[in-house]
């Protein structure tokens, strides 16, 4: 496809085992997807599903073990990332942790352009930060304040301004609203939506919150224990979820509507701990799992219209 901005093929990232006896942990296990220009792919999954590592690996903040990453058609898996850093940015989960407490805001925002020698004087740096601060809904005088003087929502705006300073085409949003209160969450989500339109940005939007992911993604990938379980358009995932895990997620997310909530049934099952080495990783918790799920690792089946599921049952 000519419109394709980012393509990831068979990405694998393994971390060494924590104990001497244990097996190495496959944080990202053979993940492939692509994102078109101006579109958003949402990655949703529980803690430890590898969604964050995937985001980091795409930007090569952690080096993948194998697989390839293509950006604008060029292979960026190996070699110097510096030419691509300007076009690929990231917004982090923890608003406070991602801003250096000893830097004034203008220095934080202008750090990237400065690293590329795009700004010559302090005045230019301050000027740029003021402009971006206004764009993200803060005051231009805030440039001289320190991150600790801002609330969580405002800090996240500063983080977004820092990413925008590079004028990127692609932004990894790693749980950007998870640490925020509901009223801030909506403000940040709106800002991301506006910016996407305004600057033709593409996002890889990572979150454990399926409602937020659904709200602003075009496509959704569902991850479980490092593997993609299902990938498809937002509509398809919402209306015709094909994988039992996706259905479980959709059922478990609490919605702010008592009548809808009452119509759902819940079940208490004993959760087995740990992971499996063979077969489908979800089979221990899966209500429809059978003998055959313990065999080969299920591969993606094409359900048509760009909808894929890694379940052999359906």
């Amino acid at each position: 496809m000519s419109n394709e901005l980012l393509r990831v093929e068979n990405l694998i990232k393994t971390y060494p085992a924590r104990t001497s006896k244990g097996q190495p942990v496959r944080a990202v296990d053979d993940v492939s997807f692509s994102i078109e220009k101006g579109k958003t792919l949402g990655l949703v999954g529980e803690s430890g599903s590898g969604k964050t590592t995937t985001g980091r690996a795409v930007l090569r903040l952690t080096e993948p073990d194998s697989g390839s990453i293509f950006f604008e058609g060029k292979d960026i898996t190996k070699g110097n990332m510096r030419p691509y850093r300007r076009k690929m940015q990231i917004v982090f989960q923890s608003p406070a942790g991602s801003l250096d407490p000893s830097f004034p805001v203008w220095k934080i925002i202008s750090e990237g352009p400065k690293a590329y020698k795009l700004l010559k004087t302090k005045r230019e740096a301050v000027e740029l930060s003021r402009e971006l601060l206004l764009r993200v809904g803060l005051n231009s005088e805030d440039a001289f304040r320190y991150p600790g003087e801002f609330s969580g929502g405002q800090q996240q705006r500063i983080g977004i301004a820092r990413a925008l300073a590079m004028e990127p085409e692609f932004v990894v949003c790693d749980e950007p609203v998870s640490a925020l209160d509901v009223s801030y969450q909506a403000q940040i989500v709106n800002m991301l939506i506006d910016l996407r339109q305004e600057r033709e940005l593409s996002y890889l939007f990572i979150s454990h919150d399926l409602s937020v992911v659904m709200h602003l993604s075009d496509e959704i990938g569902v991850m479980y224990q490092g593997q993609l379980m299902e990938l498809g358009s937002c509509e398809e995932i919402a209306k015709h979820p094909a994988h039992p895990y996706t259905r479980e997620l959709l059922r478990a997310v609490p919605v702010a509507d008592p009548r809808k909530a009452a119509s759902r049934e819940s079940r208490i099952i004993a959760f087995p701990e740990g992971s499996v080495n063979r077969g489908c990783p979800y089979r221990l918790r899966c209500p429809v799992a059978g003998e055959e799920c313990g065999g080969e690792r299920p591969s993606f089946r094409d359900l048509g219209g760009g909808h894929f599921s890694a379940c052999i049952k359906e």
Binding site: S183, A186, L210, P254, V255, D257
Partner: protein, 327 residues
């Protein structure tokens, strides 16, 4: 009097170097046996502080109240010893982080048995049996194995289950749950919520559930109090709060939540502005600085409770007029 827990005009102040912070102001609630009540609000709204103040768990705070009574017994005049025996016995508490409540150096078994024996008259053997059963009922497949281990060997979800099993083992009449599922994955959260509501139903236990998540409130609560800036701004049955919210803050929050439908880039409704500075609260309505409908009176006078009927109360000057307009 049938109320299990009754709180009237509770106020909590924290004296600090920079001045006094009013963390909670004029907080009242009635909780009936078997009822699940939600206290919902954003961070800094005072929802946890209020609950901790009720159980006398706050340090360095000035707590004043017109009345706090549990099963008709006045808690304000209770001795520290009596309150301690109430906590963990008749009143259970679970928190967001179970790590802080479990002793890292004692095996789970020891802690559960000790807890039971402190609050009820059982032998060690009986206590062990009850504990095993409790663990099994919260969905732990291998209770014996878990009991022989320490808390750090368990995952977050397991730890929270152990905590809940421990708190439920004394068959409390009231459970105070402070964001117990916030750190957990949604599928595990779903199970824990199911477990808690089931226990409430079966044991006729009442629950005070503190959360920031309206989805959870919709799923489990009969009644809700919405808090903002240390005060209750709206209270009522879940149905009333979700389908005819009377306070602009409640309305704003409900509209700000994405609804698990494909959004296709629709903007969400937002509440503009930032929460109040705790050292300089507004002199009128706490929500006035962020309120889209704010009028003159809102800035000068603290609103009184406007009764909307059926236990639905709204602390807003404009509530009654709007109610009429709607009819």
């Amino acid at each position: 009097m049938s109320e299990l827990l009754k709180v009237k005009n509770l106020s909590v102040q924290f004296p600090t170097d920079k001045g006094t912070v009013y963390a909670v102001k004029d907080f009242s609630l009635n909780l009936n046996p078997g009822e699940i009540m939600g206290i919902v609000g954003e961070s800094g709204s005072g929802k946890s502080t209020a609950a901790y103040a009720i159980m006398d768990l706050l340090q360095g705070a000035r707590v004043t109240a017109g009345e706090i009574s549990f099963q008709g017994r006045d808690m304000l005049s209770m001795s520290g010893e009596e309150k301690r025996s109430l906590r963990g016995g008749q009143v259970g508490m679970i928190f967001q982080d179970p790590m802080g409540c479990l002793d890292p150096s004692v095996k789970i078994e020891g802690q559960m048995v000790e807890m039971l024996r402190q609050h009820s008259n059982v032998t060690k053997g009986e206590a062990r049996k009850i504990s095993t059963e409790m663990l099994r009922s919260v969905g732990i497949t291998d209770p014996e194995g878990v009991m022989k281990g320490y808390q750090h060997q368990l995952s977050g979800g397991m730890r929270q289950r152990v905590m809940i099993a421990m708190m439920l083992s004394t068959q409390p009449k009231l459970l105070i749950a402070d964001e117990p599922t916030t750190a957990l994955d949604v599928t595990i959260q779903d199970q824990i919520l199911e477990l808690l509501t089931k226990t409430c139903r079966e044991n006729h236990m009442a629950m005070l559930f503190i959360t920031h998540n309206f989805g959870i409130v919709a799923r489990i609560c009969n009644r809700v109090s919405v808090m903002y800036g240390g005060m209750i701004v709206e209270e009522g049955l879940s149905e009333d709060i979700f389908y005819s919210p009377g306070h602009p803050y409640t309305r704003g929050l409900l509209e700000a939540i994405p609804d698990l439908e494909p959004g296709a880039g629709r903007r969400l409704k937002t509440i503009s502005g930032t929460p109040n500075d705790p050292f300089a609260p507004p002199s009128g309505c706490v929500f006035a600085p962020r309120c889209p409908d704010c009028t003159g009176i809102c800035k000068t006078e603290i609103p009184k409770r406007q009764d909307m009927g059926g236990g639905h109360g709204v602390w807003c000057h404009l509530a009654r007029q709007e109610g009429r307009k709607g009819e």
